[in-house]
Subunit: 331 residues, 2 copies
Amino acid sequence: MPNSPESAEDRMIARYFRPLACHPGAFGLGDDAAAVTPPTDCDLVLKTDGVIAGVHFFPNDPPEDIGRKALRMNLSDLAAKGAKPLGFLLALAVPTGIDEAWIAAFAAGLGEDATRYGCPLLGGDTDHTPGPISVSISAFGTVPHGRMVRRSTARTGDCIVVSGTIGDAALGVRLRGDPSLGGSWHLTEAMRSWLEERFLLPQPRNALAEPLLQHAAAAMDVSDGLVGDLAKLCRASAVAAEIDVERVPLSEAARAALAAEPALLETILTGGDDYEIILTLAADKLAHFRAQAQAAGVAVTEIGRVQGGDGVRFTSKGRALTFARPSYSHF
Amino acid sequence: MPNSPESAEDRMIARYFRPLACHPGAFGLGDDAAAVTPPTDCDLVLKTDGVIAGVHFFPNDPPEDIGRKALRMNLSDLAAKGAKPLGFLLALAVPTGIDEAWIAAFAAGLGEDATRYGCPLLGGDTDHTPGPISVSISAFGTVPHGRMVRRSTARTGDCIVVSGTIGDAALGVRLRGDPSLGGSWHLTEAMRSWLEERFLLPQPRNALAEPLLQHAAAAMDVSDGLVGDLAKLCRASAVAAEIDVERVPLSEAARAALAAEPALLETILTGGDDYEIILTLAADKLAHFRAQAQAAGVAVTEIGRVQGGDGVRFTSKGRALTFARPSYSHF
């Protein structure tokens, strides 16, 4: 018999995903695996993270944004580690009801970000599932040998700095669940959109990777909430920290919501999905780091200091705060 | 407040998965990402594949075997590409009802294989899902620079060789779905177990990686069925092939089933989940390859020849066979 025609799966991959596989080692998705020659004197930084409909995004979110969110969550980790993106693998599982238009839009959005962040598709796995849409991504980056920015290397006396603004996504997801909150929080339409957008589509701080490599003592991305993630960094580094809550950078929308409902402070500081970077660095490096971040178009804010000992104190006007649930946990 | 205690998720990861993360670049799963120094003059081979309950395995399969199957599917691809395993990333999504004993058994099985195949855990992502259990793995291996064994490099005149036996898993999954078939097929208890085991737990041929690097012109693993996968290899190489179906290696159990129900030939040749390797190589290399495979404890069988032109012919006693559905496709 003649060569059997390509299967529907092969055609779908060729049509929608092959254009994303522009790395020569992806072989146009035409082999079983990718082959990548690592840059000389570099370490590979490897990370996997993903999203599931109904858990990390709303099933009616635009398909264009679902793959982008999954990719950006991983890019955020690469950024925090000082790594330059190299490429990614995609595992996509979709229910039988998903049509070709959904796949096309999903791939188009993902492809846009693959180009934007210089992170081409290297390979993938597509399945039908009886469950919800699931997108799992493994992303790879490079750092000079031995230079990955660690969590465990913060030093007593370091300044603690955070990028962007904190708490927007956690407020955004609450707004998505209950749109009437926009009224209670006295938000303008622009503020609502800002918060919801910050949940839908993280802004990974890959522009900070090089400044972090040069200046950071320790860093991680803020994905499970500022309070819990800083606690992780401090535990890993065997240090303590004091944070001045008044200095934690908030968007205009988050400030408005907080003014209307002061109890939202806990949501802002512990809700997660920020995809900002928290880092520590020596005080004499702060000005240079800030200048480089500014040149890269990312606002950074000093919010506290690393101390000897154990524990993270969040203080507001000299009073220590406590939180019922310091960090997002899946289990 | 003191450093917030580790979350339940952190504790679960530390208890069950950290022991699998023995690669120094996994940082004991204590950082956001892994950092791996690639061996000098090597390319990295990257692959992702996974399993979903109800699609690739039965929900009541032993948890010990579920992660092993997912890892072995990826190891099989590394083997076919001539790559030596380096490590893997795990994305695990489990329904809320899954208890800690399930996680413990899952991790124990996975850890056993990570050790057996020299493929340590480098990092992971765990989530709860409203859907079925899903295990997605990205596996990495190394080959000497530029030497990954490709699909697209078969040459006219090459011998076509396959490892192990074909069709067992496809029969095994039918037996799992309808145990009464064991009677119709006149199988002994040992034969039933063999076929079901071949579906439950693939035997990746990583022992063939080095012989493949030395001798193969082209190779891929057989996961979607011999007919469809050989057609893919021939399409990629722009060649044709003729296979003598009488020479396709079958287990005693598959031969018994086929004798009882000759129509099973299509299931055997197209059903998939074999995780054997199909390769082509120059005729004068066959004896040496066979000797190395034998020394590695893997049976290999010559089943046909690469020809010029287009199309794959499966012939039985001089008659060409046709298949209704040449290859497994998820879409």
